[in-house]
Symmetry: C3
Subunit: 209 residues, 3 copies
């Protein structure tokens, strides 16, 4: 059973959310390139910035349509929160990329590469879960994605703790500590926000069943 | 057409929000004085603190009236969010002033002076937008303020990035980096919260038209 | 007059919230032990972690029941916010304990001991207020708890400011400053979140009277 036919308004929230999640994955993939290069070339940096602008626009579009639309495919507050959190994910890619640029990071760090892999996996699970939201029959696939996103957040948590412990153990330059502490912390924050998205999606499912 | 006559409750939310925004501007102007002096004299410090207390009281008044009032001039959640964000703006002035005091900052920093100017401009735009909320016919003036607040946030973003890049380039004392990184970051956060206020105001407008 | 008889659903939100607040107090007491020892032994660390998991489960239970329950003892958004904030309190104990572990803190710090005392007092007031929520006749006891939680937050604010001022004055090692700045800031954040809980509880009371 498709939910869409019950919400015959011209405005397709699902389509917008799919686009939004697509931008998150695109940002994650670009961030992986940056982590693997260990340095920001201006092309990758401006790519992240342009993805962020696209994300801003789609957030704005979702929220303004939300305020104009009487019947929505799921609870208004869930639409609002979902758009906000997807926007936050994309913003965090901009923040962390910006830090790498401002801090003039110029070496590949294997932990950051690992982080970038995990983050891309999580963003892809977010995308699948959101694409499946169109149809209640995908309930189980969505739940699997949410479980996976939660798992990846736990992996990221442990990764950040290990990275910080090593940083404080090995790095003798306080300015290096300041820089990498920010970067590892923000990398983990992206996974936290993906988990927030998973929670919102679970909320939407609970209400539908 | 005035919205007020449709909401003939004794309690005037508009008046309270105007007062609230007035405190935000007062805090911004005091912060500008602090930035220009490059040092906190106790009078300015206690002035920020007393503005914060007034702000707390008015937030409390708005929220408790909100819970007691059946008919409100705009959506309850928007009133709630607007009061919270205005409170957050004023709190951030207290936070940043407190940092300048605790970190014993004692020199004029031209970037912070520039920040203080931009912040005051943004707070004044917030005040104008809120004052105009009383009457739908001010729709365009409000939108102009929101656009301006967004513009100032972008200016602040670039300003913070430039300030941090210079800080990490020139400052050799890690403790100096810790202090000024906090101050620049918090200065930019004030502009972020002003932008959040602009978004709430846009939401209110969208619903009314 | 008991509120419960008006909400004869099988699901007892009050009981869950009491349990949730109980975990917050347990975490606070464990944190006090850690602060007094000035070092983390693995037992205390894993105790905090297991409390956090219990807290996560109860949060999840409250939110999923909220989505399934039509009639709730107080406003849905207040139930949602209360569960979220209690969860945040317990998470912060995990965060700060984790920092002490990662930063390899190994000395008793009298300020942190004082903080731990204040935090435990605040968590206990949160617990009493929540336990009293079952019955409107406890209105005054609840209000006394909320006033106390607000007072303790102010005490904590001043304590953090004093601790940071001393840290920046006396500590010459920037890495030590980075570590203790985090710890003091997070200790104060726990009191902030307790204050957020008090605000939600006041909101619930205002709506009932």
């Amino acid at each position: 059973m498709s939910l869409r036919k019950f919400f015959p308004n011209n405005f397709d929230f699902f389509e917008l959310f799919e686009k939004h999640a697509g931008y998150a994955v695109e940002a994650a993939t670009t961030f992986k390139e940056i982590a693997r290069t260990g340095e920001i070339d201006l092309n990758l940096y401006s790519k992240i910035r342009s993805i962020e602008h696209e994300g801003d626009e789609i957030t704005h579009l979702i929220l303004s349509q939300l305020n104009k639309t009487f019947i929505t495919p799921f609870d208004r507050e869930d639409i609002y929160n979902l758009a906000k959190e997807l926007d936050d994910i994309i913003d965090m890619f901009n923040t962390i990329t910006n830090q790498i640029r401002i801090y003039k990071i110029k070496n590949v760090d294997s932990t950051l590469v690992e982080f970038a892999d995990i983050i891309e996996e999580s963003a892809k699970s977010v995308q699948i879960a959101i694409t499946c939201l169109r149809d209640v029959k995908h309930h189980e696939s969505i739940m699997r994605c949410c479980v996976e996103i939660n798992r990846l957040e736990n992996v990221g948590d442990a990764m950040r703790d290990k990275a910080l412990a090593e940083l404080f153990e090995k790095e003798k330059d306080p300015i290096g500590i300041i820089k990498w502490k920010d970067i590892y912390t923000d990398a983990e924050t992206i996974l936290d926000i993906c988990e927030d998205v998973a929670h919102i999606i679970e909320t939407i499912l609970v209400k539908q069943t």
